[in-house]
């Protein structure tokens, strides 16, 4: 049986000087690679390996205590300012940990932020109210506030019945929180975690009661409502950066460091691509821009 593959395979170029030769080399290489791996998926493999390398390298560095600087995020200053204002006015702080279950990554990180906020409120002696939409999240929230008070050296500041499970149903949860805002008049509302359509209603009701509001979520759909109605909003990836800044947890710091490195790489790569594309407009035939773009699959 004639080996069809060998007969039809494109030849290797003699020299690699011109763009056309590089293109021919790519054709020959991908023809020979095809039975083993999909050639246009190799860039994805490279991206995964590069990211994994930086992630585990910086994670190991973080574990060994090497200080990976995460810049001070304005969101944290806004949180401190909100808690300070509530303390001046002698009114409680309301902390809403999102409306999703505990298995959602943003709810887990919200618990870590809650611990930081609880430490601050315990230091200032300001009450903190945490309404939850889910019994399991309430248990985690209780634990977070208790540890926050312990961090501040004031375990007695922990008030168990300020951590309340209101209801599992979306609009009933909002009505419950509106009730708390009306009766206990918190001066600072903090919304951290995964939110759905209720973000709009909570931010509106909170604004009407004149409270300073700080929100944080990585869910893009709800960010417009928060930005328009709250005093400060921690947006998208900043939410994970805030958690990493507060907890210094190695795997999270490693991820954010690796993300930054690949972002800088991405910027460099497509700036080069744009520069090549601009130069390559007039040239006929195969240009280095085509070769460069084909490298990305």
């Amino acid at each position: 049986m004639i080996d069809l593959q060998a007969a039809a395979s494109p030849p290797w170029p003699e020299t690699l000087d011109s763009a056309a030769a590089a293109w021919q080399w790519m054709d020959a290489a991908s023809w020979r690679l095809a039975p083993w791996v999909q050639p246009e998926k190799i860039p994805t493999l490279v991206a995964i390996l590069v990211f994994a390398w930086f992630m585990f390298a910086s994670q190991r560095k973080a574990k060994r205590g090497v200080e990976i600087p995460i810049r001070r995020l304005a969101g944290l200053d806004a949180l401190d300012e909100a808690i300070g204002r509530a303390t001046e006015m002698g009114r409680p702080v309301l902390y809403v940990p999102g409306t999703d279950e505990i298995k959602e990554i943003q709810t887990i990180y919200s618990m870590m932020i809650l611990r930081h906020v609880a430490r601050k409120t315990a230091e200032y002696g300001t009450p903190i109210i945490v309404p939850t939409k889910n019994a399991v999240v309430m248990a985690f929230a209780e634990e977070a506030v208790r540890q926050g008070c312990a961090d501040a050296g004031r375990p007695d500041a922990f008030v168990a019945d300020n951590i309340r499970y209101l209801s599992d149903e979306q609009f009933a949860y909002c009505a419950g929180i509106a009730g708390i805002m009306y009766r206990e008049k918190p001066a600072a509302n903090i919304y951290m975690g995964m939110f759905y359509a209720e973000a709009l209603i909570l931010a509106e009701t909170g604004f009407l009661h004149g409270a300073i509001q700080v929100a944080g979520t990585s869910r893009i759909e709800q960010l417009p409502a928060f930005v328009a109605a709250c005093d400060y909003t921690i947006m998208g990836e900043e939410y994970f950066a805030v958690t990493a800044y507060l907890t210094r947890e190695p795997s999270l710091v490693g991820t954010i460091r690796a993300g930054d490195v690949v972002k800088v790489a991405a910027i460099v790569l497509f700036v080069i691509g744009t520069w090549l594309a601009t130069g390559a407009q007039e040239a006929a035939g195969r240009t280095w821009f085509d070769v460069y773009q084909r490298v990305f699959g």
Binding site: F207, L208, G210, I220, E221
Partner: protein, 281 residues
């Protein structure tokens, strides 16, 4: 209060309700200027050679049917008019009744025969996994069809699809969220190279722009996209003229509702800055 006209929110609800009901009763239809994305969606289906197989995915539910059901019906009319062969799948559990109703209503108008011109395969659970399985092999994803409950291999149309989407000329997905177009692109388009066009809700439209026009050839965004597409499909399809007029009638209400919202933004901020100046003075 922080400079708000603290009126009861129900007055605003009343204003919105009166505006919508009144203008809808008024019933004037307002055509839309064609948008490039909707035109490309139409051209992509129009240019398909006759008899090519389209994977038509219904990924929506009653909550998004207001915007997506007109797109679904118009796309189906367009496909049958172009004599394309349609394989219907659903990745949202609430979508099958809409797909079944659309095929039952539209297929007879073009004399299409179930099994030869279209096959309905129904819902497949698993979100991304379902999409991955449909891409990898439709046969292992759907041992039987949904209507006749006949085995997969009884249908010549399904045999032509083959594996790894080799037989699929175009993927058309009418998607309301997750799983939808943003999952079809990784699992089908970039993995098996299947061209895709999509219809989507207003909330998801902005997140399609990064993929357009390279990975996503064209898309219909929101009720405006649906109306633009209906204006392109209706001339060749009398049955769609009624739906086009209905959507154009809704455009009148849509316009003035937008004006109301913009008015509310301006009014709210005027009151806000007035009170701040008063408090500062």
């Amino acid at each position: 209060m922080a400079g708000t006209l603290d009126i009861d929110r129900r007055w605003i609800y009343l204003a919105m309700a009166l505006l919508v009901v009144g203008l809808y009763a008024f019933g004037m239809s307002r055509p839309l200027a064609p948008a490039p994305e909707s035109q490309r969606y139409f051209d992509t289906i129009e240019k398909l050679p006759e008899g090519s197989i389209v994977l038509f995915s219904a990924d929506f539910d009653p909550a998004s049917a207001a915007e997506l059901k007109p797109m679904f019906h118009a796309s189906l009319h367009h496909m049958f008019r172009r004599n394309l062969r349609v394989v219907s799948v659903c990745t949202w559990p609430a979508a099958p009744p809409f797909a079944r109703a659309a095929f039952r209503e539209i297929a007879p108008q073009y004399g299409k025969v179930y099994g030869r011109d279209w096959v309905e395969l129904g819902f497949l659970a698993g979100d991304d996994v379902a999409l991955g399985q449909i891409g990898q092999s439709l046969r292992s994803a759907y041992p039987q069809d949904k209507v006749n409950k006949a085995p997969y291999d009884d249908f010549p149309l399904l045999r032509d699809v083959g594996d790894s989407c080799r037989g699929i000329a175009l993927l058309v997905t009418i998607s309301a969220g997750f799983p939808g177009i943003l999952e079809w692109i990784p699992q089908l388009t970039s993995r098996y190279g299947v061209p895709v066009v999509a219809g989507t809700t207003a909330v998801q439209t902005p997140s399609l722009y990064p993929y357009y026009p390279e990975q996503l050839l064209g898309f219909l965004g929101a009720i405006t996209g649906a109306t633009e597409y209906l204006q392109l499909v209706a001339p060749g399809t009398p049955a769609m003229a009624g739906l086009r007029d209905e959507c154009q009638r809704r455009m009148l209400v849509q316009e003035w509702s937008h004006v109301l919202i913009i008015g509310l933004i301006v009014l709210g901020n005027v009151a806000y800055f007035a009170s701040r100046r008063r408090r500062a003075a």
